[in-house]
């Protein structure tokens, strides 16, 4: 099966269809395929992802993802909580980028209520969200490098991620599932020295990215392991709904922060890094550059935080009018969307989360067909999934 019949959705539709686990495709010398089960307990599947691999020796003939081991029914919970009560739950989906989740949710509800967060809150939101993007990419880099066998970057990235988490902790008391934002703005005013902490972090972190790159970017083994591995063309990526750095690495210059600016991203000057080949190495480069661009945004934002209130004019009881809304943001992993149907009560009638990891994971199959087991691990890492978000 040719993987990339460019943009032909029918060919792709078949490619994504699942494994026929019973019939061998092409018996050769009385050999048969090996079906192995990667996960749900496996060091490199980033949680409880289970991938059934059909192998010919080491070569991957096909994969099937079995997900849902971490399914908590977030959407069902949402229907049984008020809008305010549900806010902390969104942090538990993509727990590596909890702030982004919160931003998306709060903005969606605000949009539904037709209110807007005040300018100061917008700035704080952008700073925290971009810090969180860096933290998420750091986590990705460490684990991705570990998957490919480089142990050391993991500790370097965790060392530096700690600084971001410290800022979160000082800001809102939590490090991972921050619950930093509220519908209508921010709950907390910035603490004294917030700007200084953020600026310090920027000057601390700039040389650290170079350090990561010194370890990996020109490393021969890294290049061999990532170049031309897990290639996905732009047409395939779009057809499969892949978003985020994975899409950009395929050469599509599309970032929701630019395409449909939310919060106050339109005020900031930054670039959208894109790749050329859509391989693992390009995705690596794109994310590295994104960290730098996030730093640029933070730098601009932290210098321009206006004075003013941090909470918009929202009632104590959040009760959006009847209607429905879809709002999406550029989470570190791709387009994170919230589709909310309100029946006018205090609880969402239906809340649908459009999880980037879930949709991106679907592309795993066509990305790894014909590659080796080791590449499966590399590609799972490069898609950057968080199972909390895939399974919700």
């Amino acid at each position: 099966m040719s993987i990339s019949e460019k943009g032909n959705p029918n060919a792709l539709a078949n490619a994504v269809s699942n494994l026929d686990l019973d019939t061998p495709e092409k018996p050769y010398l009385d050999s048969n395929e090996l079906i192995i089960n990667m996960g749900p307990q496996h060091p490199a599947t980033h949680g409880v992802l289970r991938v059934i691999l059909k192998l010919d020796g080491e070569k991957v003939l096909g994969t099937e993802c079995v997900i849902g081991y971490l399914h908590r029914g977030v959407e069902k919970i949402a229907e049984n909580r008020t809008y305010t009560m549900f806010n902390p739950y969104v942090d538990r989906m993509d727990y590596c980028a909890a702030v982004s989740n919160g931003l998306g949710y709060c903005e969606a509800v605000e949009k539904l209520m037709n209110v807007e967060a005040p300018a100061r809150a917008q700035y704080i939101r952008v700073i925290l969200t971009e810090l969180n993007r860096i933290a998420s990419h750091q986590l990705w880099l460490g684990t991705h490098a570990l998957d490919i066998g480089a142990m050391t970057p993991l500790f370097y990235t965790f060392r530096d991620r700690e600084e971001i988490l410290k800022i979160f902790e000082r800001y809102c008391g939590a490090r991972l599932t921050t619950h930093a934002f509220r519908i209508g703005g921010c709950q907390y005013e910035t603490y004294a020295g917030f700007e200084k902490d953020v600026t310090n972090f920027l000057s601390f972190f700039a040389p650290k990215i170079d350090e990561y790159e010194a370890l990996l970017t020109t490393n021969r083994i890294w290049l061999e392991r990532t170049k031309n591995v897990g290639v996905i063309s732009a047409a395939d990526a779009i057809a499969l709904g892949v978003t985020g750095p994975v899409l950009r690495a395929s050469g599509v210059k599309w970032d929701l922060r630019k395409a449909q600016p939310y919060a106050n991203y339109s005020k900031f000057d930054f670039e959208i890094p894109i790749g050329e080949n859509g391989d693992t190495y390009d995705r690596y480069l794109v994310r590295m550059e994104e960290m730098r661009q996030s730093m640029r945004i933070i730098e601009q934002a932290v210098g321009g935080i206006p004075e003013g209130p941090i909470m918009g004019k929202v009632p104590k009881v959040i009760k959006p009018p009847v209607g429905e809304i879809y709002h999406s943001i550029e989470a570190p992993k791709g387009e994170l969307g919230y589709f909310i149907v309100s029946d006018g009560s205090t609880q969402p009638y239906r809340l649908r989360v459009r999880p980037p990891s879930f949709v991106n994971l679907q592309a795993l199959d066509i990305m790894v067909r014909g590659l080796l087991i080791a590449d499966v691990v590399a590609v799972i890492g490069t898609i950057d999934i968080v199972l909390g978000e895939v399974d919700r």
């Binding site: 080491e58 500790f155 370097y156 080791a374």
Partner: protein, 430 residues
């Protein structure tokens, strides 16, 4: 009886050649114990060094600076439940770790720690070593097969293909070193490990520098192949934990698993010893021909003592720098005792160096010489051990097909070319 015990000390050949079976047995025991201790030390060192590469501390709790961690690990592994999967082939599963262990320890019978400090000096030493170390793959394959599980099976297959491939390049590199031993007046080479070191002594040059860069390239090929041969990063495909969970020893636990680890580390030390023997002058101290004067001999013989004195000093500094809290009292005392132990060894070595400074056949002089030989040999091997850790901390893992490509398409042609060039240059020079 004392005569019998001392009977060998005056001899200049290995106990194997002298036919002194008592001393041969003693050597076997000493080497076994020494290698086991070295593996434990290596275990601690790897964890500590790797930790410091990775900006963490590593073991700190069991003993001062985690010095007793290997003992705790060993104890834990021995006490652990020994699980044999129901579906596994019981006997083969049981015997597999032993094969690997036997193979990697048998290699030590021909490794010379000094001109007479070896179990035996076989005239086919290098062949024996290549043959026996190849057997280690059998243990891995058998372990993977007997586990009756997919990940071990794939790990075992990878491992066997990898080891067989790299053996070829390794063998060719070794042959070019052997070829160099024949660059003497009589034109006869030797396969004996002791003979190879002596040839380097005669020719006045370590083979790594001989016919530069030919010797160096051959050495580099061996140095790469030996990493692949021992399944260490960046060639640790057989146990790639992010791909195959733990590769061929996924189903092993407790003591059996620790036997695999013991075999792996013993094999690492063994191949490093071979590299040292073939290219780095084995037991020879630096510049044995250039700086021949007795004064130099004496100065170099102080090195073992000074090294231990340095280690003791480091340990003492560590003791002094420990936080002055009652919580650390036991650790502080432990480290102080350890430092004192090191200091005592240093003193002993210095005393021996001074007592045996004359080159005669007295027991002290014999001891002094033996210690010198072993010291320089171990020092060179230790450099390789450190490199193994360094590789692991620095590099990502190769993919299986890339590994094979490098083995067959890069290393093998280069090794062949170096071998031919060495032969041609050798003929021209002599």
């Amino acid at each position: 009886m004392p005569n019998f015990v001392m009977s060998y000390l005056g001899s200049t050949v290995t106990p194997g050649q002298a036919g002194n079976q008592f001393w041969a047995l003693m050597y076997v025991l000493i080497i076994f114990a020494g290698v086991s201790v070295a593996v434990m030390a290596m275990n601690w060192l790897e964890r500590k060094a790797l930790a410091h590469f990775q900006i963490r501390l590593g073991p700190m709790r069991v003993g001062p600076h985690g010095l007793l961690q290997p003992f705790a690990d060993a104890l834990k592994l021995m006490l652990k439940e020994d699980i044999i999967p129901t579906e596994a082939d019981q006997f083969v599963f049981w015997v597999a770790p032993l094969i690997g262990l036997l193979a990697s320890f048998t290699v030590y019978t021909v490794i010379p720690f000094g001109p007479s400090q070896a179990v035996s000096d076989m005239n086919i030493g290098i062949l024996f070593m290549l043959g026996v170390s190849s057997l280690a793959v059998l243990g891995i394959v058998v372990a993977g097969w007997a586990s009756n599980s997919h990940y071990p099976l794939i790990g075992a297959l990878r491992s066997s293909a990898q080891m067989v491939s790299y053996e070829v390049a390794m063998g060719l590199a070794v042959v070019s070193a052997v070829l160099m031993t024949s660059m003497n007046a009589s034109g006869t080479g030797t396969l004996s490990m002791i003979g190879i070191v002596q040839a380097q002594q005669q020719q006045g040059i370590w083979f790594i520098f001989k016919f530069f860069p030919l010797g160096f390239i051959a050495f580099a090929i061996f140095a790469i192949a030996m990493v692949a041969e021992t399944n260490r990063a960046p060639f640790d495909m057989a146990e790639a934990e992010s791909e195959l969970t733990a590769g061929y020893h996924t189903e092993y636990s407790g003591l059996r698993w620790s036997l695999f680890m013991l075999a792996e580390y013993a094999a690492m030390i063994a191949v490093s010893s071979i590299a040292v023997t073939l290219w780095l002058g084995g037991w020879m101290r630096p510049f044995p021909n250039l700086l021949q004067a007795p004064a130099w001999e004496f100065i170099f013989s102080l090195f073992p003592g000074l090294t231990f004195a340095g280690l003791a000093a480091i340990a003492f500094i560590g003791t002094a720098r420990m936080p002055a809290q009652s919580f650390f009292r036991v650790q502080r005392i432990g480290l102080a005792v350890f430092a004192a132990l090191l200091g005592f060894i240093a003193l002993l070595l210095l005393v021996i160096a001074v007592a045996g400074r004359t080159a005669d056949t007295s027991v002290a002089a014999r001891f002094r010489e033996g210690i010198d030989y072993v010291y320089w040999f171990v020092l060179k091997v230790a450099v390789f051990m450190y490199l193994f850790i360094w590789y692991r901390a620095t590099w990502p893992r190769y993919r299986f097909d890339q590994l094979m490509r490098i083995g067959w398409k890069v290393m093998l042609p280069i090794a062949l070319g170096v071998l031919m060039l060495t032969a041609i240059v050798g003929v021209i020079v002599s």
